[in-house]
């Protein structure tokens, strides 16, 4: 009896240490020195603080896109920067404290990556000590004079990749994998569905969210096996093109399309994902819906430095190339004309893209 207790304790301790190593190792690996602009930047320009939600960099999509914008701004403006990341199970008070700590350390502007920072940024920005600090929230909805909400018309870009999927499908059957079922990702779904139906209303569309539960961000956006299972299901039931809006879980969608083989496509999201997937997956990435978080972050930082910090909602849509679709790989070149036509119609207001399904 005693021995088993001892062994159990030893095993538990060993596994704890082992998992913690794995966790700890992830950090330096994901943020290699050459990859980490904030470790090496040494300018005397502005000090930029970037705060991510749980997970942070390494999703090859949303967060990485924000980092890309930060990187360009740092290089361009001779700036320095730091990145902060949320821990699991936080409340607004913890997020507020992160923004305050960044401000206390002299960072300005401070950018929250993800709508989760909206309330926190609004509260901190109104406090007397921080009224002069510039805040921005990507996808945000904060209301304070010194907060800018960088919002994206994701439904417009999704409409175009939806149209692309409809034009490219050979079997009249496509799919959508979303991360967390909530207003944000629903705008991707709504745009995609509208785009497909604009081309051909008879096309069958499978829709699957990895979780309905909005506080399971990890299950939704950090879950490649879940993304793979969802996409596999769609390919097996006959769909030949799957669009994902699921952050890192989308990497699983790409694994699924690779194993589904020729005649199947996946559509990326946020960044041009053709560029970041492995060689073996490149032939299957039809296009990516671009949500130019990088442009938003970069332009915001520049505006702050020029003394022209925006406030309220800064909208990035098709007309400002804040959203769009990628052409790397050349798989949509043959339908580029039609897609550009749709794009023009949306910009002109001829097509109104819904943002709720």
């Amino acid at each position: 009896m005693r021995r088993t207790v001892k062994i159990t304790v030893a095993l538990a301790a060993a596994s704890l240490i082992a998992t913690s190593c794995a966790q700890g190792d992830e950090g330096p690996e994901a943020t290699q020195a050459s990859e980490d602009i904030c470790e090496t930047a040494e300018g005397d320009g502005p000090q930029i603080g970037l705060a991510y939600d749980v997970g942070g960099r390494g999703d090859q999509s949303f967060n990485d896109s924000a980092y890309e914008g930060l990187k360009q701004a740092v290089e361009e403006l001779d700036a320095t920067c730091t990145e902060a990341e949320a821990g699991p199970g936080e409340n607004d008070a913890t997020r507020e404290e992160r923004l305050r700590t960044l401000a206390d350390e002299g960072f300005d502007p401070i950018i929250g990556v993800g709508f989760i920072y909206s309330v926190a940024a609004q509260n901190v920005a109104k406090e007397p000590d921080y009224r002069d600090v510039n805040f921005a929230v990507v996808d945000g909805f904060a209301e304070a004079p010194n907060v800018a909400n960088l919002v994206f018309a994701a439904q417009e870009g999704s409409f175009l990749v939806g149209a692309a999927a409809a034009l490219k499908t050979e079997v009249g059957h496509v799919g959508f994998v979303g991360g967390v079922d909530g207003p944000l990702i629903q705008s991707f779904e709504a745009g995609f569905v509208a785009g497909v139906e604009e081309v051909d209303p008879s096309i069958q569309i499978d829709i699957k969210y990895l979780t309905q539960n909005q506080d399971e961000a990890v299950k939704g956006f950090e879950n490649p096996p879940g993304g793979r299972a969802a996409a596999n299901g769609m390919y097996e039931s006959g769909a030949d093109i799957v669009y994902h809006a699921a952050g890192k879980s989308g990497l699983g969608v790409f694994q699924a399309v690779e194993s589904a083989g020729d005649g199947h496509w996946a559509i990326g999201v946020d960044s041009d994902q053709y560029k970041t997937v492995g060689q073996s997956q490149k032939p299957y990435i039809l296009t990516s819906m671009l949500k130019r978080v990088d442009v938003g972050v970069q332009e915001y930082i520049k505006a702050v430095v020029e003394g022209d910090a925006p406030s309220g909602f800064v909208t990035y849509d098709l007309s400002s190339d804040g959203v769009g679709y990628s052409t790397t790989g050349g798989f949509v070149d043959d339908i580029a004309e039609q897609l550009d036509e749709y794009k023009q119609q949306i910009i002109d207001g001829g097509i109104k893209v819904p943002d709720t399904p």
Partner: protein, 367 residues
């Protein structure tokens, strides 16, 4: 002399635990390639007044969660379901209070009762399953957590309204909010008014467990079920009662947040408190004061994680690992100290009796 010695053995376990935790955490930092000295510097950087307020506030929430778990642990019932219980409870309370059927603080008071009731009912499902069907409460509460999350998400979509990219219930009327206590003069952030609730819950926990027949029966069932049964305790009834009570306290977990800061249940409402509460209860060894200390240690670490991340460039994951290491160290240290004390006592008794025959007896008494 004996008083000093007793104090030494009482303090030995926690001290040993924190030394071990410190060493293990440093090793992990070394392996992760982080700076060990920067970690400790940042960790023990003097928090600002507002950080103290945050630590207290977070402790209040974790304390309630720890208490909820501890009630069942005292009976050796492993209620993993505080997570789901507080979630359904706070959602129900938020929906109820948002309707503003009752005026002012009456609305608040009834909403708190609603939360306790809903939490108790949710936990009661697992209690009933255990008592009538023998379903392990570990399994059923884990599943109920999952169901709770999905159920609340679904209901929120039905009754909630959209705010930006989140869904939220109708905000509470302003006169039902519970104001803060300005604990530190000149500091804008305030301690939750519902901190009082946590103190009351702690006192009630101690009284019920140590000064009532119910508490005695609960502890007796925890110590030995067959013995409790033999002495006339209705064990099945105790299982259900303990789960109900635990669930009712779990219902309180979200109250400081709901009435103090959030004023509505939104899809961004804090998650994971129930799981952290289990660790806090373990850390506090199910003792009302111990749980409070455990909650403060955890809150301190959570509060410092921002400084660690931003100033010392240590990933917040390491803070979570540190919390785990502390819990493990405490469990192990208490076991080590207990054994040391056992053998010391055995030796003492053996010496006084002049032979090794006393060994068996003391073992039984101490255990």
């Amino acid at each position: 002399m004996t008083a000093v010695r007793r104090l030494a053995t009482v303090l030995a376990a926690p001290l040993l635990a924190f030394v071990v935790a410190g060493v293990v955490t440093s090793l992990i930092l070394l392996m992760a390639g982080d700076s060990v000295s920067r970690f400790w510097d940042a960790l023990f950087r003097m928090p600002d007044a507002r950080n103290f307020v945050n630590i207290i506030n977070n402790s209040v929430v974790l304390y309630l969660s720890g208490l909820a778990a501890a009630i069942c642990f005292r009976m050796k019932l492993f209620n993993i379901g505080v997570e789901g219980q507080y979630r359904v409870a706070v959602f129900a309370a938020a929906v109820f209070a948002g309707q503003a059927w009752l005026p002012g603080y009456l609305n608040t008071a009834v909403a708190v009762l609603v939360a306790m009731l809903v939490g108790a009912l949710w936990a009661g499902i697992a209690g009933l399953l255990r008592a009538t069907r023998g379903v392990s409460e570990v399994i059923s509460t884990i599943m109920l957590n999952s169901i709770a999350g999905t159920l609340v998400a679904y209901l929120l979509r039905q009754v909630g309204e959209r705010r930006g990219e989140t869904m939220t219930t109708t905000p509470l009327p302003r006169d039902s909010w519970v104001g803060g206590i300005p604990l530190i003069p000149g500091e804008a952030s305030k301690v939750y008014g519902f901190a009082v609730l946590a103190v009351l819950a702690g006192v009630a926990y101690w009284l019920i467990l140590n000064r009532t027949r119910f508490g005695f029966e609960l502890r007796a069932t925890g110590a030995s079920q067959p013995a409790a049964l033999a002495s006339g305790v209705d064990v099945k009834r105790m299982v259900v009662m303990a789960m109900l009570l635990s669930g009712a306290v779990a219902g309180l977990v979200g109250m400081p947040l709901l009435f103090g800061t959030d004023h509505a249940y939104a899809s961004t409402f804090q998650s994971g408190i129930g799981f952290t509460g289990i660790a806090v209860a373990l850390l506090g060894r199910n003792h009302p004061i111990g749980i409070a200390l455990g909650a403060i240690v955890f809150s301190f670490l959570i509060e410092q994680s921002n400084v660690l991340d931003i100033v010392a460039q240590v990933s917040p994951d390491v803070v979570v690992v540190t919390q785990g290491v502390i819990v493990m160290s405490v469990v192990i240290a208490y076991e080590v100290v207990r054994r040391y004390r056992n053998t010391a006592e055995q030796r003492g008794v053996a010496r006084s009796m002049g032979g090794p025959s006393g060994k068996q007896e003391t073992e039984g008494v101490v255990a």
